[in-house]
């Protein structure tokens, strides 16, 4: 883990480490070394190895290989479109999350402060801004963001694009999901396809886009199998290991790695069930987890799972919410996918999903991890809590930070979660 860097007084050792990391990310050899390191410790399960390989390949193409345009985007833009157009998507938020795993997120957060980003903005985005400024992110040829579910990323990407004189496209995503909204959003996607084909130098190949749609559908079918397997008692998977699924949902679909990942995860889950060997041995109470969780190493989740015996049976962001995509109408079906996101629209959609999942996964309660600065997720929690309570489902709201370990108050969190689990058991 890199030593924390503060203000202007960057120690020489840290500068050297950042320099080494920048060179590492931009060389094929460096990425092979990283792959070997991940295989030793972090990515030990088969599906984790698929994801590690995928992100390393993505890194290789984004950092080292200059032959394909790199498009920076947010988590809710359709990745099938990027893969289908032959572009390399880069997700600043996901990579901020990875930086938290590597212990680099403070570097980003502090760097963002020096750039003038106010301290109350989401730390995923602040970390991303700081890491970009430190030169730890790859080049961008263009930027695209959606207007829904996160204000900050789109605004930040617009700012980067403006500063670099690169194209920026905002996909204006309606909150409703009727046919008029589908038509409006699909028209924007069509415009984007035309524009990218004209500006990126990568010719538009309808068959490649259909291929991406096909891969997305295959991955979706496997992901639905995983979701069904997770109904099992005891829960086959350790939920804390699934709290990064949003990064996979937003980038793997439409790429062969998506199929490989969900196939490996399905097989692994089946095997665990078949052997009656759940990842988490002690399971006293099943929980539904809402929003994300800490991405860095912390005692909090092991305490919840191993000491208290609470198992996260399913997570909000593991949901495969969309219908099968139509190869013959790719942009229209991608528009439908975007509009049908359960967190798009009014809070009742989110509550309905929570109620369905709590019932399906036989959960005794729900936990919402409120990431500091995420207004869309935590803004209407009072309504969520009241509606779940009316159905007899207790909701524990935990304030924390997914990226910045400084903002995680471990003591109060442990106390609250202990009381909650005790009440449920």
């Amino acid at each position: 883990m890199l030593k924390r860097i503060t203000g202007n007084g960057r120690p020489t050792r840290d500068r050297l480490q950042i320099g080494a990391l920048k060179r590492l990310m931009r060389s094929r050899l460096g990425l092979r070394l990283a792959r070997a390191w991940l295989a030793q410790g972090v990515a030990t399960r088969p599906h984790d190895r698929v994801v590690a390989d995928f992100f390393l390949e993505l890194a290789a193409r984004a950092y080292a290989d200059r032959s394909t345009p790199v498009v920076w985007t947010n988590l809710f833009a359709p990745c099938e479109l990027m893969w289908g157009l032959g572009l390399v998507p880069f997700y600043p938020e996901t990579w901020a999350s990875l930086s938290a795993i590597l212990g680099l997120s403070r570097l980003g957060v502090e760097g963002a402060e020096a750039l003038g980003y106010p301290v109350d903005l989401c730390t995923f985005n602040r970390a991303a801004a700081g890491l970009r400024a430190a030169g730890l992110y790859p080049r961008a040829d263009a930027y695209v963001a959606t207007s829904n579910l996160c204000d900050v990323t789109g605004q930040m990407l617009a700012g980067f694009a403006h500063a670099e004189g690169r194209p920026f496209v905002l996909l204006d995503v309606p909150q409703s999901d009727d046919e008029a909204a589908v038509t409006y959003l699909a028209a924007q996607l069509d415009e984007l396809v035309e524009r990218w084909a004209a500006e990126s130098g990568v010719p538009y190949d309808p068959e490649r886009l259909r291929g991406a749609i096909r891969l997305s559908n295959q991955a979706r079918a496997l992901a639905l199998e995983v979701a069904a397997l997770r109904e099992a008692h005891p829960a086959p998977l350790r939920g804390s290991s699934m709290l990064g699924e949003l990064g996979n949902l937003s980038s793997l679909f439409g790429h062969p790695a998506g199929v490989a990942y969900y196939r490996a995860l399905r097989d692994y889950t089946q095997e665990r069930i078949g052997r009656a060997e759940p990842e988490q041995a002690v399971q006293k109470v099943r929980l539904y987890w809402m929003h994300l969780g800490p991405q860095y190493e912390t005692d909090f989740l092991p305490h919840l799972e191993d000491d208290l015996g609470a198992v996260i049976a399913f997570e909000e962001f593991s949901t495969v919410w969309w219908d099968r995509l139509d190869e013959e109408e790719p942009t229209r079906s991608l528009a439908r996918k975007m509009l049908s996101h359960p967190l798009n629209g009014t809070v009742e959609r989110r509550v309905d999903m929570a109620l369905r999942h709590v019932a399906r996964y036989d959960c005794a309660g729900a936990v919402h991890f409120s990431h500091w600065g995420c207004r869309q997720s935590s803004g209407a929690l009072r309504v969520v809590r009241d509606q779940l309570r009316r159905e007899g489902i207790p909701l524990l709201i935990l304030d924390g930070d997914c990226v910045d370990p400084v903002n995680l108050q471990l003591g109060p969190l442990r106390t609250r979660v202990e009381a909650f689990v005790e009440m449920l058991v």
């Binding site: 003038g116 801004a129 204006d172 409703s176 207004r375 803004g379 209407a380």
Partner: protein, 354 residues
């Protein structure tokens, strides 16, 4: 039209992108929702403490005063905070919601067509609520009333910039225009303009420190008083109260209802862009023009704490304005009051400009 109807419903609007003409034409009094609470305390049970402080203040006002004089409200899809406020509102405030309008975030023909369709749907909803039906003629009459108001406000701005109307009076009248029925507001504007005729300050010497204020809804009155008391002059305010309120007349002299709605849609999407549009090039170009036209020498961003769209835009805006030689101060405000700490920072900033 409500000229003869004192019982006309008063409808609160949450965005400068919502056409007041349309609400007015259906016999309602459209008013912009301003916060009425001094502190957000009443909202704390419903919204997180790190939620946009402007929205928390607005909600607190309605929780304290029940309906705050409104018969209904219309939301717009402005940002994450407005969407969640809309959720919380329906569960906690007694004032009914007559619409959640998905205002597009572009000024393209595609977006304008979409907005015209959305406005047509809003008309249908409002017709159901009010029991009235909207015709092209009524809408054009309403547009004419608001076009007259825009013309009067433009005159008022000229008087303000020339020094014959002071900043406090100027801002009070702008707020009147947003919060009273337009016929009454226009009358007050005409009276003020008549009274200030001939009183133009002929001095061509620019004041020493000319300030651009930037805010979401409106810069706090206390901040305006403070900076002017310290010898600075506010020469422009990028906010819904002033520069981002639609200033250009809506061209709608003839045409069907559909054509008139399309004209409204185009006009509102083309007004000076707010951060919600994520159109930084257009927004910074507009701010550059404002700085040049008014000779602004410094800028103060008086933003609500936790207001993401504005705060996330801030680094780009700061870099751009500083590139124009305009230093920028950011204040993150919890409520309408200017705290001692903010006062000290403003004073130090203004001193630095000497």
């Amino acid at each position: 039209m409500i000229d003869e109807d004192p019982l006309a419903p008063t409808v609160g609007l949450f965005s400068s992108y919502l056409p007041r003409e349309l609400v007015y034409a259906l016999g309602c009094r459209p008013v912009r929702v301003f916060p009425s609470a001094g502190k957000p305390t009443a909202a704390e049970a419903f919204l997180p403490r790190n939620f946009c402080s402007l929205d928390r203040l607005i909600l607190a006002g309605f929780l304290e005063e029940k309906n705050a004089g409104l018969d209904a409200v219309i939301f717009a899809d402005e940002d994450d905070a407005t969407r969640r406020l809309h959720d919380v509102w329906r569960a906690s405030v007694t004032v009914p919601v007559w619409g959640f309008v998905e205002v597009p975030r572009a000024a393209t023909p595609l977006a304008a067509d979409r907005y015209a369709d959305i406005l047509a749907r809003l008309v249908a909803d409002l017709e159901a609520h009010t029991g009235r039906s909207l015709g092209a003629h009524s809408l054009r009459r309403a547009i004419a009333v608001f076009n007259e108001q825009r013309s009067l406000l433009a005159d008022l701005k000229r008087h303000w910039l020339a020094g014959s109307v002071n900043t406090v009076a100027y801002r009070r009248l702008r707020r009147t225009a947003l919060t009273q029925d337009p016929v009454t507001a226009n009358e007050r504007l005409r009276e003020t303009l008549a009274a200030s005729e001939g009183g133009v300050n002929g001095s061509s010497d620019p004041p020493a420190r000319r300030l651009l204020l930037l805010a979401e809804l409106a810069a706090p009155a206390g901040l305006v008083r403070l900076v002017e008391a310290k010898g600075a002059q506010v020469v422009a305010e990028d906010s819904d109260l002033d520069e981002r309120d639609m200033a250009e007349p809506v061209p709608a002299d003839a045409g069907t209802l559909t054509e008139t709605l399309a004209a409204l849609a185009r006009a509102y999407l083309s007004k000076p862009p707010a951060p919600r549009m994520r159109d930084l090039s257009r927004r910074l170009a507009y701010l550059s023009r404002l700085v040049a036209e008014r000779g602004a020498q410094a800028a103060i961003c008086a933003y609500s704490k936790f207001c993401d769209l504005y705060l996330a835009e801030y680094p780009s805006l700061k870099a751009h304005l500083e590139g124009l030689g305009v230093p920028v101060l950011l204040l993150e405000l919890e409520d309408e009051a200017v705290s001692g700490q903010h006062r000290t920072r403003v004073e130090a900033f203004l001193e630095m400009l000497h």
